[in-house]
């Protein structure tokens, strides 16, 4: 894909291109300087801050404090449980939405446009903003977190699924149409079988994301392992915080390993 760049055109074109590159670089530099001024960036403080940060990281956080390990079992289990429920709900809803909004399967172009707008709105509002709002509505606890995961996951999956459906081979849809198959029959027999591999793959991906997300959810009061991180940090028990983070990292890596195993065995 990538070859040594051969610049087309003569010397003049080359010079023009050069000038353009310099202009872009200068603009970028200017933008950087303006940005630094805008947030009153103090280079000295920042650079000095880095060793402070590292010292903080290595002396206050490490080593992890292994006390009270069994206390972490429930939040970890909760994280798994909610990730499973959220993944399931958002994948079911996501498939329905995706079929309605994919160009090749939508019952009407208007449905597609409206849904796409809605999904784009859902998706482009940061996840944590949803979670935080839902905590206000549903109260502090895992319920708000679960609903946030479902709402966000639903938009996320609908888009990915819809893209996969649009990429599918249209030939078999055409063939089934020519046999006199109804809309429902075409979806079931031409789209679903071909879509399944992508469906499994994206759904597993969603599960991974949900596990990661639940670590963040706790920070705005929506339960899961993240709540422990906030709790311990607020109490300056940094050793415990790093223990929780270590558990979280292990959990995420384990889930990734598992899902990639499953993916490889799909036919």
């Amino acid at each position: 894909m990538l070859k040594l760049t051969v610049i087309p055109g003569g010397a003049q074109a080359r010079r023009k291109r050069r000038a353009k590159q310099w202009a872009a670089a200068a603009a970028l530099l200017l933008l950087t300087v303006l940005s630094l001024v805008y947030i009153r960036f103090d280079a000295a403080e920042f650079i000095l801050g880095i060793p402070t940060f590292l010292r903080f990281l290595f002396s206050d956080f490490l080593p992890p404090d292994p006390a009270n390990l069994q206390g972490y079992i429930k939040p970890v289990a909760d994280t798994f449980i909610y990730a499973v429920i959220a993944t399931f709900c958002s994948s079911v809803l996501g498939v329905c939405l995706a079929l309605l909004m994919a160009r090749t399967t939508t019952p009407h172009p208007l449905v597609r446009t409206v849904l796409r707008g809605l999904i784009s709105f859902l998706r482009n509002i940061p996840f944590l903003a949803w979670a935080s709002l839902l905590v206000v509505i549903f109260g502090v606890g895992t319920t708000a977190g679960l609903i946030a995961l479902i709402v966000f996951g639903c938009g996320f999956l609908a888009r990915l699924y819809a893209e996969s459906i649009e990429e599918l081979d249209q030939d078999s849809m055409e063939a089934l149409e020519s046999c006199g198959a109804t809309y429902g029959q075409r979806i079931k027999h031409a789209i679903i079988p071909q879509f399944l591999p992508a469906f499994y793959s994206w759904t597993l991906f969603m599960f991974e994301i949900n596990i990661r997300a639940s670590a963040v959810l706790g920070l705005v009061g929506a339960g899961g392992i993240g709540a422990l991180i906030k709790q311990t940090m607020d109490l300056f028990q940094y050793g415990k915080t790093s223990m929780v983070i270590a558990i979280m990292v292990a959990m995420i890596l384990l889930v990734e390993l598992m899902t990639s195993r499953i993916r490889r065995r799909l036919i």
Binding site: S172, E174, L176, S178, C179, A181, G184, H189, Q194
Partner: protein, 258 residues
């Protein structure tokens, strides 16, 4: 005899000014085996797809067994399509489904929408589907997945799917254009024999003039969206083929030199 299909003044306009079809007149009698020949881009494929409205025609009429195809509503169209089989150049199978399921798709037009979605085909349909597969020499492939088959085998599955519809007319769009000579012959034989035995009329789009001559009872030549030749095989002189492929002779020779 009452014709199976009558086409009058059929036109299809693509984007402004480009006419895919430009006033086609055609009548198909029961049991005929018609080869539609012509250079690529002449509108053969569009013509076939306008007959079952996979492509909506712009003007003109199509009458199939006395029913108006162009103005048929959803339900009528479904029943019309169920009685018209179609075979495609790229087989158009569902490759992640079994061979048998692919053949049974031909029955979807006849069973209820929900039963079809659940895959509840009548046992008799299944038996007939298996019999069809046996007849084209795929008895060992019934439970294989469609993506495990070779090109020629895939097209034979496509033929079985069309036959499973028990159609009065089969539309075959370049059924052998992607196949090697040996498979081409097997596939053409399968289409020809079955259409003969079951008295199914058949319209086959073909590139290859020699195949057209070998199988067809009648030949229709299409050029620039119009019928320029329509007659029995014997009347197709080399002058006419020359005229048909004018400027695109390489295509004819290349494909015909099997």
């Amino acid at each position: 005899m009452e014709p199976i299909l009558t086409i009058q003044g059929l036109k299809k306009q693509y984007s402004a000014g480009t006419w895919g079809l430009n006033g086609i007149e055609l009548t198909v009698q029961p049991g005929e085996f018609i080869a539609v020949i012509g250079p690529s881009g002449a509108g053969k494929s569009t013509l076939l797809r306008c007959m079952n409205r996979l492509i909506e025609p712009t003007e003109g009429s199509v009458t199939f067994l006395g029913e108006d195809v162009v103005h048929a509503n959803k339900r009528q169209l479904r029943s019309i399509r169920a009685r018209m089989g179609m075979i495609f150049q790229h087989y158009n199978l569902v490759y992640r489904s079994s061979v048998l399921e692919n053949v049974l798709h031909g029955r979807l037009g006849y069973i209820g929408s929900l039963a079809g979605m659940l895959g509840r085909y009548p046992e008799a349909d299944k038996e007939e589907a298996i019999a069809l597969l046996q007849k084209v020499g795929l008895e060992n492939e019934v439970y294989k997945r469609a993506d495990e088959l070779s090109g020629g085998q895939k097209q034979r599955v496509g033929v079985c799917r069309a036959l499973a519809q028990k159609p009065s007319l089969i539309l075959a769009d370049e059924p052998i254009a992607s196949l090697d000579p040996k498979s081409s012959k097997t596939v053409m034989d399968a289409i020809h024999t079955n259409c003969r035995e079951q008295e199914i009329a058949c319209l086959v789009n073909l590139h290859q003039v020699d195949y057209a001559k070998a199988y067809a009872t009648r030949i229709v030549g299409i050029k620039a969206g119009r019928v320029v030749f329509d007659g029995p095989v014997e009347q197709l002189t080399s002058d006419i083929t020359q005229y048909l492929y004018e400027g695109q002779e390489h295509e004819m020779f290349h494909k015909a030199a099997i």
